[in-house]
């Protein structure tokens, strides 16, 4: 039977979603919890990797198991065997052709900038950069929307297509934060952080708002701002 699961995690103490040699990945921790729970080997397949230090509110993965267990029982039993910084929110049976990555239609990421210096308690979940011109960043934001070649806004991997569509790029101000949200069909490695790094340079007055358009047209990564820090980035939701 195939199951899909929604999981949230605090990425602070992990080397990303995917298991790596000599570094603990979130995938390996979840697979271990399933092993402890079911006494069987369960391999999980995520909608996509997140990098070291990146958080997720609604990452999705699928897995196969012969065990016919009630959704709520799955959730409770696996959470009991997971560290508290990884919480499975939902598990439900799906059709056998469901695939967490291939079936995904789109994804939302948000990037959280703090309005004031981080406290001892907030520092893993936001990035504080003083004296940002938020208006200039907002002027640049709509330029990301649409179908573009994002080769200049990612860590390029040979032969991997870099043309992606951003459906929405929005800005929200809360009491403590400036939140930038990106909804797109799919995202490349370091793409959101590279986009944010460029927006931050615009906010600091070191780059013009028009640079976004120029990078999208020229695919020249050397024009982009430094990749923004992982701890401000949250994978919010995967749409199917």
């Amino acid at each position: 039977m195939r199951y899909m699961a929604v999981v949230s995690y605090d990425g602070t103490n992990y080397h990303g979603f995917q298991s790596q040699i000599n570094a603990i990945g979130i995938q390996q921790v979840i697979e271990k919890a399933f092993r402890l729970m079911t006494q069987t080997e369960i391999k999980i397949h995520s909608a996509g990797r997140t990098d070291k230090g990146v958080h997720a509110l609604g990452q999705v993965f699928h897995f196969d198991s012969k065990l016919n267990i009630e959704p709520q029982t799955w959730v409770r039993a696996v959470n009991q065997r997971l560290p508290l910084d990884i919480r499975v929110k939902k598990i439900k049976p799906v059709k056998s052709d469901f695939h967490a990555r291939h079936s995904a239609k789109s994804k939302t990421y948000k990037y959280v900038l703090a309005k004031k210096p981080s406290t001892a308690f907030s520092k893993n979940y936001e990035v504080y950069i003083p004296n940002l011109n938020i208006e200039a960043m907002n002027d640049a934001l709509p330029h990301f929307i649409g179908t573009h070649d994002f080769k200049g806004f990612c860590q390029y991997v040979k032969d991997k297509p870099t043309i992606k569509t951003i459906y929405k790029a929005t800005f929200k101000e809360t009491k403590k934060h400036y939140i930038f949200t990106f909804h797109g069909n799919s995202f490349l490695k370091y793409m959101v952080r590279s986009m944010m790094g460029t927006l931050i340079q615009i906010g600091l007055g070191k780059l013009e708002s028009t640079i976004v358009k120029e990078i999208l047209e020229t695919q020249n990564r050397s024009l982009a701002g430094k990749t923004a820090e992982a701890r401000g980035l949250f994978l919010v939701k995967i749409y199917y």
Copy 2:
């Protein structure tokens, strides 16, 4: 010149305030930051220790330095050399007879219980215990107020006086939390966590509300509930 400082810290990754052999204490991290900043040895004296995993919003310490530095410069320069989970909030010159511990008049601690299971992001700063009878806990709470022998509510250290005064013991419910706050002249090792452990047992229906009075009268620690977990405890403020 003598200075007093207010510091907040996330206790999650430290073995308490005091430096220990083979374990990093918050004190040693702050002293190292001062050393890096001033190129001199500065010993800090706190208002009291906090245990492993306990947090502080307003811990206080004093230190002596010949350097005549502006308060804001002290704060900025030491914070630049501190990890982000320790943040100095204030440094100001004080009279030479000020002593962070001896001059302290009273302290406030709060203990944070979660109303719902912790998320991956909240788990270090609250404790979730299902099915608590909050009314029963509130019935027991006023029994702590006043001057009592708290020997039954602490880890007893020989020859250390155990008579303490609790001025206020209050309960507050927020959207996500049940918060218990204790204001007292001083606190013994594990005292708040031992009081909370007993309140939790009352909330679970395993102990009667009257047990608080009984433990205070008999000083019988074996009647008290298990010491509550460190991660729900915050040192809020030191009063001078």
